[in-house]
């Protein structure tokens, strides 16, 4: 039980008063940047690095990782309350979280998200402590080929499980995919579809798209007829009900595993486990029709998954020095700035440091839970603000959020355009989430595909020769056929029930 001893001794580091303070600062900043549209944890971490230089390495890393996992909590709040995801991972939360808020259950949604995040966070940290190193080896087996298959699986889940019509889902999906090709090609550097606009060279910012499609279109919709906006009469329960807690335990459990394992794989995004978790919960549910109409599992699962993703993503970093996501890469930089090279040697040479950081993540997650459970009720009251007052305020905050993306009106304009597109799409029942998710997955998929083909001498055979890739592709096929089948059955039922 070497790991266990380490875990215990680490508390000696994590529980000193200054480390507790830095941990608190880290998670608070993280949560705040999660709430603010346009500012993400990656940016926050990168910018705070220079400020940590005077600190001891342990304090510095404790604070910076606090921002990383704290940010995941914050993103939930805007998604649930005003349907505006701050980053890709919370897009999924919008689907059911916002519906819950409209039903007066914002408190329950936020509460379960905080609870799920806490469980996911804690479990993944414990996983990191106990079984980290051997799992890291496993994660290395994911090369470009396997990554491509994983992205294909993600895409089939996107299209198969969102919205009521597969054709409309496909429209949304291809819209997102085409948008993702705008900008400089990742492999050759050629400019694509930039219309000669320098702003488009680096592509359209994800946050701008998401705020326009989700947030702004929601404001347009609400402004149609302010008196008719479904303002919840009263908040039904600020905390999740007991039976809701029981109902979501499965979702939280599965979300934890998903997030943890996908976090291990270098080069993924936290949107991936959130998406998979949502799809799985919907598929397993006895009442899948509740999903999209305020199913609490649809919030609990993905929120748990994106938090446990954080813990999982720390494993390749701490054990092998591999950065598996942009934020982690910045953390790696911070390690090196403080004279530490992550890897097995670090565990031997600086056990106090490593275990201190690991334990601080336990402490930090507990802090976040303590902050978020009481706050959930408070935040939820925002849903009671009269829409005629609330919408304009959200509007001006969104505009500033878009402005901060590049400190330029360009992004505000882009957001406005996407707001109108989103409004029309809402009217036509075209699901919004696939656009944003395929936008994220599309670019990763293209890169992986090109690398994979090149690595296998120009053939696609690598996709079926790798056992991991093959199994993922088979799974993707099953999901795709399953959703096509469901669609056909659905249509038959519709035609039968409603002869035209």
């Amino acid at each position: 039980m070497e790991s266990f001893d380490g875990l215990m001794s680490g508390f000696a580091v994590a529980l000193t008063w200054q480390n507790l303070l830095y941990c608190l600062i880290g998670v608070t900043v993280g949560q705040l940047v999660g709430v603010l549209p346009g500012v993400g944890p990656t940016t926050a971490t990168a910018l705070l690095i220079p400020l940590t230089y005077g600190m001891s390495p342990a304090s510095a890393i404790i604070m910076l990782s606090g921002i990383y996992y704290g940010g995941m909590y914050g993103g939930t709040i805007t998604s649930v309350l005003i349907n505006t995801p701050g980053e890709a991972a919370s897009v999924i939360t919008c689907i059911d979280g916002y519906k819950m808020a409209k039903q007066g259950r914002a408190g329950a949604a936020l509460g379960i998200a905080a609870l799920g995040s806490f469980i996911g966070g804690i479990a993944s940290v414990i996983g990191l402590a106990l079984v980290g190193p051997p799992l890291a080896e496993l994660a290395l087996r994911f090369g470009p080929t396997e990554m491509f298959s994983l992205m294909v699986l993600g895409l089939t889940m996107v299209v198969g499980l969102m919205g009521t019509s597969i054709v409309r889902g496909l429209v949304a999906m291809f819209f997102g995919l085409i948008l993702s090709t705008i900008g400089m090609d990742p492999i050759s550097g050629a400019l694509r579809f930039t219309f000669g606009q320098p702003f488009l060279i680096s592509g359209i910012d994800l946050v701008t798209i998401a705020m326009g499609l989700f947030g702004l279109s929601e404001i347009f919709l609400g402004m149609e007829n302010l008196s008719a906006v479904g303002k919840p009469e009263k908040l039904t329960g600020l905390f999740p009900k007991r039976e809701e807690l029981r109902g979501t335990s499965g979702a939280i459990f599965r979300g934890t595993w998903l997030g943890f394992f996908i976090g291990l794989i270098p080069g993924t995004s936290s949107a991936v486990p959130a998406l998979l978790s949502y799809s799985i919960e919907k598929a397993l549910s006895k009442t899948p029709e509740r999903f999209g109409n305020g199913a609490i599992e649809g919030v609990a699962g993905p929120e748990t998954a994106n938090n446990s993703y954080c813990g999982g993503a720390m494993i390749p970093l701490l054990t092998l020095g591999i950065p598996s996501s942009p934020t982690i890469a910045i953390l790696l930089g911070a390690f090196i700035m403080h004279g530490l090279t992550p890897g097995p040697i670090l565990f031997k040479q600086n056990p106090d440091f490593v275990w201190g950081v690991i334990d601080s993540m336990l402490v930090g997650n507990a802090m976040l839970l303590a902050m978020n459970l009481p706050l959930a009720g408070l935040w939820a009251r925002i849903a009671l603000v009269p829409p005629k007052l609330l919408y304009p305020i959200v509007l001006i905050l969104s505009i500033i959020g878009a402005y901060t993306v590049s400190n330029d009106l360009w992004d505000v304009g882009v957001m406005l355009v996407f707001g109108v597109i989103g409004y029309v799409m809402k009217k036509l029942d075209i699901p919004m989430a696939p656009i944003v998710l395929t936008y994220v997955l599309g670019a990763m998929m293209e890169k992986a595909a090109l690398q994979s083909v090149k690595m296998n001498d120009g053939s696609l055979m690598g996709l079926v020769e790798s056992p991991i890739s093959l199994s993922i592709l088979i799974l993707a096929t099953i999901v795709f056929l399953g959703s096509v089948y469901a669609e056909i059955k659905n249509k038959k039922a519709m035609l039968a029930g409603e002869p035209d």
Binding site: S165, V167, I187, P392, L397, L409, A449
Partner: protein, 163 residues
């Protein structure tokens, strides 16, 4: 959330009959088709193969090609099984005016910002959003107060370089 139920029944004749009877799905499908075709054509300007393997144009060309098929399928679906008439899907004139108000307020904000600064542009934005629903003095007071608060928060506390 006037009409977002699954399937709608045929057209309806109202005062602005022609527009209302138009198939919204068809028009949206055509717009999406145009978007796909535009990108498909542009993808031919990019090399399909490059000296490094698959070129920058390969993926977009396939993507947009399939997207054209999807657009046609969508148009077909909109015309046959799931017809969305504009009249059923979109609200009446009064509601659309409300939406347009917000949109216009944003455009006004965009045009004004770099000339008059955030405080005035923001107040204008807020005022346009408020004046239909509040008494004049209330709308004015609210818009200025909110703008000043956000300005203070973002400009001073967060140092966003708002003009």
């Amino acid at each position: 959330m006037a009409s977002t139920e699954g399937v709608t029944r045929g057209g309806q004749s109202g005062p602005n009959g022609w527009i209302k009877r138009q198939n919204a799905g068809l028009w949206f499908g055509l717009a999406f088709l145009a978007f796909s075709v535009l990108f498909f054509r542009m993808s031919f300007d990019l090399a399909y193969m490059s000296k490094l393997g698959a070129g920058p144009g390969m993926y977009p060309r396939w993507l947009c090609g399939i997207s054209i098929v999807v657009a046609i399928a969508y148009i077909w679906q909109s015309c046959t099984t799931q017809v969305f008439r504009i009249g059923d899907r979109f609200p009446g004139r009064r509601e659309l005016t409300n939406v347009a108000t917000i949109f216009v307020s944003c455009v006004v904000f965009l045009l004004l910002l770099n000339h008059v600064g955030f405080l005035i542009a923001g107040s204008a934005l807020m005022f346009i959003a408020f004046w239909r629903n509040y008494a004049l003095w209330k709308a004015t007071a609210l818009s200025i107060t909110i703008t000043v608060i956000t300005w203070v928060v973002f400009k001073i506390f967060f140092s966003v370089p708002l003009p």
